[in-house]
C-alpha cells in the first residue's frame, strides 16, 4: 500500500469518472484496426509474392548446385580397376560414404565422451 493513500482524494477521483460509452469512439478504434488488418494482409500477400518470385528466379541456380553436389558426393575416393570390386566398395569408397562414416564415428566418440 502507498503511504500517501488519501481516501477523500480517492473518492474525488471516483466521482470524477464519467461513463464514456459512446459508440463513435469504439467505431473509430475499430475502423483503424480494420485499416491495419487490411494493410497487414496486403503486406503479407506482397511478401509471399516476392518470396515466390525470388524462389522462381534462383531455382535454376539451386538446381544446378544440387546436381553438382550430388555428382561430387558419388565420386570414388580411390580409383579401382576391378569393376566388381568398385561396385561392392562404392558405398564406402566415396565422399558421401566417407562423410557418413566420419559422422557415425564422431557420434560414437561424442557418446563415449559425454555419456
Amino acid at each position: 500500500m502507498t503511504d500517501d493513500r488519501d481516501l477523500a482524494l480517492q473518492a474525488l477521483f471516483a466521482d470524477a469518472e464519467r461513463p464514456l460509452t459512446d459508440t463513435a469512439f469504439a467505431d473509430a478504434v475499430m475502423s483503424r484496426v480494420d485499416r491495419r488488418r487490411r494493410r497487414t494482409r496486403s503486406a503479407r500477400i506482397c511478401l509471399g509474392l516476392a518470396l515466390a518470385l525470388g524462389a522462381w528466379l534462383i531455382a535454376p541456380t539451386l538446381q544446378a548446385v544440387a546436381h553438382l553436389a550430388t555428382q561430387a558426393v558419388t565420386l570414388p575416393l580411390v580409383p579401382l580397376d576391378n569393376p566388381l570390386l568398385a561396385q561392392v566398395l562404392a558405398p564406402v569408397n566415396s565422399i558421401a560414404g566417407a562423410g557418413a562414416l566420419g559422422l557415425a564415428g564422431l557420434w560414437h566418440a561424442c557418446r563415449s565422451i559425454f555419456a
Binding site: Q10, F13, A16, R36
Partner: protein, 184 residues
Amino acid sequence: MSRPPDRYGDSPEALVVALARGGDRDAFAALVARRQSWLRNLMRRCCGDPGLADDLAQQVFLQAWRKIPHLRRPASFGPWLRRLAVNTWLQHLRASDALRGADTLDDVDAATPEPPGVAMDLDRALATLPDVVRLCVVLSHRDGMTHGEIADGTHLPLGTVKSHIRRGTQRLRRLLAAYREETP
C-alpha cells in the same frame, strides 16, 4: 459504420481476451466497448484534454490489437492495457519534450474545459502538477497502484515516485480543500 452484434455481452473478460488474442476482431471490439470508459477517463486525468485523451486512448487500443497475440495471461488484460496506456502517455510526453518541467510545480491552466463539476475541478487541480507528477498521482489515487507498481510501470526510481506522489497529493489536498470539507 455498422456495428456487429455484441456476441460477448456476458462472457468473462478472460475468455473474450483469449478469443481476441487468436485474431477475433469482434472479440476485440467487445473489449474496446468494455474498457473504453476506463481508459479514456485515465487518459483524461493524465492529460486534462479530452480530445488529446481520446487520441491517445485510440493509440493504446491500436497497440493492444497489435500486441495482444503476445499477451501470456488473458486474466491480466487490465493491468497490461494500463501499462500500454502509461507507456503511450510517457512517449507522448517525451515527444513533446514535456519532461523538462518535471521538477517544478508551476501553475498551468487546464487547456480544454470539462463539464462543470468534480471532474473539471479535479482536472484543473491536476493540470497544476507537472506531467510526470500528475501521472504518479493519478495511478496512485485513481487506480490504487502501489509505489512499487508505479515505479515499475513508469521506469522511475522508487524514491522519485514517492516524492512525486507526496508533493502532488499535498498540492491536490490544498487545491481541493473545499471538497474535503464536504466529505464526512
